[in-house]
Assembly symmetry: C2
Homo-oligomer: 308 residues x 2
Amino acid sequence: MIQKLIEKIQKTKAPIVVGLDPMLNYIPEHIQKKAFAEYGETLEGAAEAIWQFNKEIIDKTWDLIPAVKPQIAMYEQFGIEGLKAFQKTVDYCHEKDLVVIGDIKRGDIGSTSAAYAAGHLGSVQVGSAVCRGFDEDFVTVNPYLGTDGVKPFVDVCKKEKKGLFILVKTSNPSSGEFQDRLVDGRPLYELVGEKVAQWGDECMGCSYSYVGAVVGATYPEMGKVLRKIMPKAYILVPGYGAQGGKGADLVHFFNEDGLGAIVNSSRGIIAAYKQEQYAKFGPERFGEASRAAVEDMIADIQGALENR
Amino acid sequence: MIQKLIEKIQKTKAPIVVGLDPMLNYIPEHIQKKAFAEYGETLEGAAEAIWQFNKEIIDKTWDLIPAVKPQIAMYEQFGIEGLKAFQKTVDYCHEKDLVVIGDIKRGDIGSTSAAYAAGHLGSVQVGSAVCRGFDEDFVTVNPYLGTDGVKPFVDVCKKEKKGLFILVKTSNPSSGEFQDRLVDGRPLYELVGEKVAQWGDECMGCSYSYVGAVVGATYPEMGKVLRKIMPKAYILVPGYGAQGGKGADLVHFFNEDGLGAIVNSSRGIIAAYKQEQYAKFGPERFGEASRAAVEDMIADIQGALENR
């Protein structure tokens, strides 16, 4: 799957991923009204609104982009109904041949991580049948439990040729509270980065590993160091746009081959119609606003890479 | 909810929690067969088997115990159908007035943690309606992202009078890889423990806080130190039984008041009928085997506390 991701990035010339993280207040009123008319002001109604919103954004952007990253929390907040909308979104993106990165940030003791890995990337045995659950292509993983919490994900990736992005340095303001603490004079995130490189060594997909990392756009200097520590890890870079990251800050997340990083934007794309810059589209044409925002984001990052 | 948990522990004299972490191979064949006959060898069939298995164990143990801890990964591996069985289990335990600890180990950047907190402990606004998702009483939270990943959970707990158990030192063999690393001469888990105490100070339920911690039974010496660092945090202690922890190892997780800790056992109770000690019950009477295992676990821990 890392090969497929890279091929799609090369074909689209877009090292970006659209974060499908719908909040109800991003969703234009006409979509919400229609969903609530059909299913009531219920979890089911909310899930329908999310699904219709996602579908329109996917329809208007899929040909420009290699991948999407649905954040499962935004669906899980609406319980089972929300998770059905997550599943529909994953399946629909697969119909469009998009790579799907499930932003699930799971991680637990061995047997429990194995269950998460089976449900999100692999399969489960039910009697004599093999069944698949959510079936994303990549997932994000939390490393706090160490190797035996990560290994079951790596094992499933090897078998299924799927991939991981492991949290190394997150984009949020307080990420430094634990991640930046010095261990033998070096920040914890560097040690985690070294482990990511080790875990990844045993499952190389091509020149890059199935095992990637998450490093926030909001910490470009750390990205530069981590790029060197994990030369074969693809870096998923959240925090572009709404969280403050800009294309020019991101060049050092990439390797000299122009590969090695994929930059996520969520709100900046899916709620583009709410920004002054794209207000001309109006809520009715929110999908076209998202398309314009994708085009601008690609240009920003490509420009930065060319002026490196 | 922390008061309710304590009251129930005092009433049952059982500082224990039953981990409802069903694996298909724990479930007696007659239950699987019946479920597959009705729903096929499908995710739905697996979910039905899990639900019937859980229901029997709850029916046979609920009057002895204060709380249950379903591990959501074991349900999530069966996709949407599995999560429906999770929801049914949570709801049924609430009917039995059990405290439900959702072992979800979520944690993300602020707005995303807020969505998880809403979906598992709080509510969401849908139009003019307020809807509730999974609605557990406590959840487990991963601290790797720092305060702004935890704060949204704390906020929902304050509003809803619910609670958290934050991972401090996990029970698995490789937990030390990052958690034990020395920062200014002290292991990282102690710094996380100090943060738990700080986060908890602002939401005290009674003599204990809404904000508790997870510390593995497999690390009793660290439990002793952490008990002192977080005097007002309830400690959820996994790793008893199948993972190797024994009652005598656990006394220092408790405060002098005999409170402050709740010990989890999963496999040791729900798959008790598979152990030699309880084999006499046979697979047909697996629920009674679980009841006997609960009684033995309570006696082991009470005995250890009395001989402290």
